[in-house]
């Protein structure tokens, strides 16, 4: 977790509570993955052995597991997390407003009213988003946990196939999700700047229309608008090209890993791998690891955008202010 957010949570006395809700949420995704992998294994094994009488029983068992797991999600986790979410927001908003109101006029002059309102309204939302919403800290932490535990299970099931999975997944992941997509935000930013150039041209096209008409300036204006529009296209296509290459390496990694697992697993049949259903289970844990890696990668990028809010809140909280009685 980011140091500033950690400090804010500690300041408002929510750190322990937050760790508790994280611990309560951690097993959910992992157990969901475990149910999926074992469900596939059980069904395929029963099918292989021709035990049709047990198929319905297995269907009922896994449906029950699913209901229990999601039931835990709706009762314990949802109830605790909604309460924690509100408590965090209340304490943070209260502390922030308290600090703002306890300043003197001179200290206040350093900030515009709009700036303070943004901190109180938007930045608190950003800290909350960082901690709880998808593709942020919570999901990144859960996905990291998922990767770790799926790796451990895969290692226990078959160390050789685990190494094979790592060898195929990691280089492609580094290439596609770290090296290739690294420049995408840069091109996105450039594209946004070009869009601003385009709208900067639309304004005179509307407001200076009479001048353009009288002085026959349509051609030069359209040329300039086209330059701006083409620049948006160029920057977006650069970003899309990188996304396409990233997809190329992701699908290569996914398919290659899957096929190699099937082929190598087949050659180990009866030695390191019990049977095809177990091999299928191994592929499921590999899929969980890959899914986790993508979530962690997306989460790390998502968190960056919300961190600016945390820094701005900390700036206000760090400054000393007299406490308002009753708070």
């Amino acid at each position: 977790m980011n140091k500033t957010v950690w400090k804010i949570l500690k300041d408002i006395g929510m750190l322990r509570f937050f760790i508790l809700i994280l611990l309560l949420r951690l097993p959910f995704d992992f157990l969901n993955g475990v149910i999926s992998a074992n469900m596939l294994e059980s069904f395929i094994r029963l099918t292989e052995k021709g035990q049709s009488e047990n198929l319905l029983k297995t269907f009922g068992t896994f449906l029950l597991f699913t209901v229990l797991l999601f039931g835990y999600n709706v009762t314990i986790w949802a109830a605790v997390s909604v309460k924690a979410d509100m408590l965090l927001q209340k304490r943070l908003r209260n502390r922030l407003l308290n600090h703002i109101l306890s300043r003197n006029g001179e200290e206040m002059a350093a900030y515009s009213a709009g700036d303070l309102i943004t901190r109180l309204n938007n930045d608190v939302d950003r800290v909350n988003d960082y901690l709880t919403t998808p593709v942020n800290f919570m999901h990144t932490a859960i996905a990291s946990f998922n990767i770790l535990f799926s790796s451990v299970i895969l290692l226990i099931l078959n160390p050789s196939l685990y190494i094979l999975t790592i060898l195929v997944t990691v280089p492609f992941f580094i290439l596609s999700s770290i090296i290739i997509i690294r420049k995408i935000p840069y091109y996105r930013k450039k594209s946004q700047e070009s869009y601003a150039d385009y709208t900067n041209w639309i304004e005179p096209v509307i407001n200076a229309k009479e001048s353009i008409t009288v002085f026959d300036g349509e051609e030069i204006v359209l040329k300039k608008v086209e330059e701006a529009s083409k620049e948006i296209l160029r920057q977006n296509v650069k970003a899309h090209t990188l996304t396409a290459w990233s997809s190329f390496f992701n699908i290569m990694s996914g398919n290659l890993g899957y096929v190699l697992l099937l082929l190598c697993g087949n050659s180990m049949m009866g030695v390191g791998v019990k049977d095809y259903p177990q091999l299928l289970k191994i592929t499921q844990y590999r899929a969980e690891m890959m899914k986790g890696s993508f979530i962690v990668n997306a989460g790390l990028n998502g968190m960056k955008t919300n961190l600016s809010g945390a820094a701005r809140i900390e700036e206000i909280l760090e400054s000393d202010g007299e406490k308002i009685s009753g708070q």
């Binding site: 900067n200 407001n207 009479e210 001048s211 009288v214 030069i220 204006v221 040329k223």
Partner: protein, 219 residues
């Protein structure tokens, strides 16, 4: 030559003019004065072909279609309406030009000294820094643009209204440099800007009344 024959104009169901007629001979200079909001600028835009009359006819150099009239006139408006381009592009609007013509124009528009002081001269971009231009500099660029178009008919819509005395004088001087021999319609609320004009009209209640005629030499 500019002629309005029984022109009426409505805007958002309100009548601005009813049966307005005026004839401006080739090479004649006329001024139109009146209170703010009396419809002077609207009249000028009708003459420029930028608005279409509800009824009646507008004829400029024998042409009646508004899209064609636009090609026959030059306009300097209250706001210079500069575009996010270089000074040169704002003057030429991307059309072909000869250096000697541009030199002459910036001299006549009282722009030379200022442009020579700029590091990039005529190629200085005035997009984002349009606010850094003084009102006088921006308006003189607009006049240079009108000079570049070099139409026989020049329509001026209070080109100095937003300027202080010194800047206004400089702009008026620039205008006087190139109105010689042109048909000019100058709309203003300051009668003193119309010295030397052939006729002056007062616009009131949607009607034009002649208040000065050089040929008759009476007020």
């Amino acid at each position: 030559m500019i002629e309005l024959k029984n022109v009426s104009f409505n805007y958002e169901n309100a009548s601005i003019f009813e049966n307005l007629s005026i004839f401006v001979a080739e090479g004649e200079k006329i001024g139109i004065v009146g209170e703010s909001g009396c419809g002077k600028s609207t009249l000028l835009k009708l003459m420029a072909g930028l608005y279409v009359p509800s009824s009646g006819e507008i004829i400029v150099d024998g042409i009646r279609a508004p899209e064609e009239i636009i090609k026959k006139v030059s306009v300097v408006m209250q706001s210079p309406m500069l575009l996010p381009l270089s000074i040169l592009e704002n003057i030429t609007m991307g059309h072909e030009y000869e250096d000697s013509k541009i030199e002459k124009i910036i001299e006549s528009a009282n722009l030379k000294k200022w442009i020579d002081s700029l590091p990039e001269g005529l190629n200085t971009y005035i997009g984002d820094s349009a606010d850094e231009l003084s009102g006088g500099q921006a308006q003189r660029i607009a006049i240079a643009r009108a000079m570049f178009k070099d139409s026989k008919n020049l329509l001026l819509d209070e080109p100095t209204s937003a300027l202080d005395g010194e800047n206004a004088a400089s702009v008026l001087e620039a205008i006087n440099h190139f109105t010689e021999g042109k048909t000019v319609v100058h709309v203003t609320h300051r009668k003193k800007h119309l010295e030397g004009y052939d006729r002056i009209f007062l616009m009131e209640n949607g009607q034009l009344t002649e208040i000065w005629n050089r040929y008759k030499e009476k007020t």
